[in-house]
Symmetry: C2
Subunit: 103 residues, 2 copies
DNA sequence: CGGCATCCATCAAGATACTG
DNA sequence: CAGTATCTTGATGGATGCCG
């Protein structure tokens, strides 16, 4: 649908998509996270959606997934370098939101 | 659906929504814009959608609309102060996109 | 524990036509 | 010129259940 180069939209497509930005934010402040940790940190995001968003983020090269084939299963999500480079932006968005949006 | 305070999501809801960020970006670089100018600047955004997004942005207090009741009709969209405060963020998002997304 | 599959409701967005 | 109205469809997200 989008034909033209549009860096803004390209970027926003990556970090939007409901909760993606929050996931990045949480991993960046909280450190590497397990799936269940993210569930606790973002309780309003359903399990299904969380999994979908994580997959998208992984495909986009923003986060990395390490699977430890233990029992019980354990995974760990970390930011890639690309993901890290997004942190300043995510933080400034967060700050702007704190200042200009009241909830 | 979103219960918890979430400044990031609040902010992204404002600037995302397909083309909103681009509209802000265009007005910020191009200066005050008429409806038809925005159409030319963002040809992939349909007329209908453009109108909707402009209305949302106006409601959010990010842009202002001046209507000149001449014939033919003329309107002009400008950024509010709140809108201006978003520019640094929009620009950094744009720069990030230029660097990290290839289209 | 960390998901995926399925079904379903909702919604966002395109196409087209019409108006002050 | 600057929109609005209507209709339709594809994508999004919730709920639930299953599986390694």
């Amino acid at each position: 649908m989008v034909r033209k180069d549009c860096p803004i939209e390209n970027t926003l497509k990556l970090i939007n998509g409901k909760w993606k930005s929050v996931i990045i934010y949480q991993i960046s402040t909280h450190g590497p996270c397990h799936f269940s940790e993210l569930q606790k940190l973002i309780p309003d995001c359903s399990k299904r959606l969380l999994a979908l968003q994580l997959k998208d983020l992984e495909k986009a090269g923003i986060i990395q997934k390490q699977v430890y084939s233990e029992v019980p299963l354990k995974t760990e999500y970390t930011l890639t370098e690309v993901g890290e480079s997004l942190i300043p932006i995510i933080k400034s968005i967060n700050q702007w939101g704190e200042k200009y949006t009241k909830n």
